[in-house]
Amino acid sequence: MAHRALSRATPWLLLILPLLLLFLFLLLPYLLTFYYSTTGATIGRLLNVQQVGLKNFQAVLSSHAPSFLSVVGITAVFTTGTLVGSMALGTGLALALHTVSAGLRSALLAVFLIPWVIAAVIIGYTWRLIYDPAIGLANSALEPFGVAPVAWLTEQASAIAALVIANVWAGYGIVLLVVSGALANVPPNIILAGQVDGASYRRIVRRVILPAIRPTFLLAGLVALVSGLNTFDLIYAMTRGGPLYQTETVALEMYRLTAQKGNVGQGAAVTVILFTVSLALAVTYVIIWRREARKWN
């Protein structure tokens, strides 16, 4: 009897440490965040905090300078730009690489993945240099075309565009990697069949290849979307959300409220909002993916 009880307990004994780590570093912070979002906690006072109900959410949603609506708007534009840009660039490159020989493909893939493995802060500072109005590469590259020097990061529109370009550069790698993997699994014969059936390359891509990798394509989109939504380090390195909150996204707002203003409660409220939106997107994806999978097999 004792032997059986022990053998039944063995998996749990083995799992105790990983589960504990998971709880400490993943689940506990989440739970604390949810908890703090309903309290008046500050950086200086994290214990014996006062319960404030939904007041933090109210404060965040009705805040001025910047208004939450403008922060959400900027986040939406930045995220959409990142999503569309990295999907287009990553998928385009993956399709192009799909047509070259396997050896050359892996070599080029390694090269094209370099930006993705560089820390976002480094990419941020590098692009800040590129956009520098006086010494930056962007202006010197445009000079021959008769474009007057642009102060990229000081106007809202150009600053957001500059951030999107930098973020696409930093993030298209994951799309490229995932889509490349999916393309490698497309049965080569259905592409050949498309050729015999008289379809142009464009038609084959649109009607045969992309539908065949649709579930993975959607997954890449989700990853790009969520990473756009959560981008903090790159924006912080390039603009710090400025000038005058003009490039402040939800992720930066979260940091500003918590770390700079010390208002842990409000920062946590923003975090909860961001978390909920990300979760909703992920769940939507899973539902779509399941429906797709049912259609196929």
Partner: protein
């Protein structure tokens, strides 16, 4: 449409997959390319389609050189071994795909799809998706998609190998009937010699990247032009004994009626069904009997030589292992091959040897 391949050579790196192959397929003819794996048959099909760039060689459709046209513009119907049905499209969308690509008017396209689907017996499956189809149904959808655009030539790459045995025979007959009805010029690739024999007007046996025999199924069986063809075609395999080596005694005895003592450098070949058990002047020992249903395959030994014989089941059931029986070879079915070249040789009354040259003289046959 008449299909001509001239001097096709394809190399993968240093390895030649096809070497100097020539083939003419007449209008409405069905030629089967058969050979062991790696003999170059699928490569040849890939060249006709335009998937594969050759080192040299031309392909002509009714005399028109299409070698430099992309696959899209050749108007070929191709059925892949794995069918290559578009997994995310319904059966209807699959069959309509070639018509959409050709920008055929939607109404006419739908009519054509309905017509060919009816002909192929998949008319009631048009709304289904590929994963809801059986192997045989997928096969028919693939054929319908290949035929809907009224191709100039139909290429079939091992189309039956993913089907189970009884379905294979059924679909084989269907393909042949359809091909005859439509008078469709067809190249059929298979590794199964029986399948090739059953379906083709002419069979092209391939080995090492070239056609080593090209003739009608019956000639190929009864008068194979080469040793390779003789051994590749027919199951159980033909008996071959060399006049040099361990089989010398038996081989010389078998061919003596034809060549007397002058049998040097020859191979004697007798198909198992032409080895008669129960009468004759050769004494053989039975080593094993295998019931095959209609027949028994009997393994025999004469000295160091082994012999395969096919006898009717009623007779085979009575044979016992270890039993010594008289056997005889049917002289009219005795085949001789040159040991050095592998070509079949015929010997006339004067005793002169003449090599079979079927491969060179047997050109296109109008279907």
């Amino acid at each position: 449409m008449k299909l001509d391949i001239e001097g096709l050579t394809v190399e993968y790196g240093q390895v030649a997959a096809v070497r100097g192959l020539n083939l003419t397929v007449g209008h409405g003819e069905l030629v089967a390319l058969v050979g062991p794996s790696g003999c170059g048959k699928t490569t040849t099909l890939g060249f006709i389609t335009g998937f594969i760039r050759p080192k040299s060689g031309r392909v002509r459709f009714d005399g028109l050189d299409v070698t430099d046209l992309p696959p899209q513009r050749r108007g070929i119907g191709y059925v892949f071994q794995d069918y290559a049905i578009y997994p995310h499209m319904t059966v209807r969308e699959n069959i309509r795909f070639p018509l959409d690509a050709a920008k055929v008017d939607r109404k006419k396209a739908e009519r054509d799809v309905d017509e060919i689907a009816g002909l192929m017996g998949v008319g009631n499956l048009l709304a289904r998706r590929p994963h809801q189809l059986s192997g045989g149904q997928r096969q028919r959808v693939a054929l319908a998609r290949a035929l809907v655009k009224k191709p100039v030539v139909l290429l079939l790459d091992e189309p039956l190998s993913n089907l189970d045995a009884h379905l294979r025979v059924e679909v084989r007959a269907e393909i042949r009937r359809l091909q005859l009805d439509l008078k469709m010029t067809t190249v059929f690739v298979t590794h199964d010699q029986a399948e090739a024999m059953a379906i083709a007007d002419r069979v092209a046996v391939m080995n090492n990247g070239d056609i080593v025999a090209l003739t009608s199924p019956s000639t190929l069986y009864s008068r194979p032009p080469s040793l390779f063809a003789a051994q590749f075609i027919g199951s159980p395999q033909i008996n071959i004994w060399a006049t040099d080596g361990p089989d010398e005694a038996l081989a010389r005895r078998v061919i003596a009626p034809l060549v007397g003592d002058g049998g040097a450098g020859l191979l004697a070949g007798v198909r198992p069904e032409h080895v008669m058990v129960g009468a004759g002047d050769i004494k053989a020992t039975t080593t094993l009997t295998e019931p095959l249903g209609r027949d028994f395959l009997v393994h025999l030994e004469v000295g160091p030589s082994s012999i395969r014989s096919l006898v009717p089941a009623a007779q085979g059931a009575l044979l016992k292992t270890g039993e010594v029986v008289p056997i005889a070879m049917e002289r009219s079915h005795l085949l001789l091959f040159d040991a050095a070249t592998g070509h079949r040789v015929e010997i006339d009354e004067a005793g002169t040897r003449r090599e079979d040259d079927t491969r060179e003289t047997d050109g296109g046959l109008a279907g």
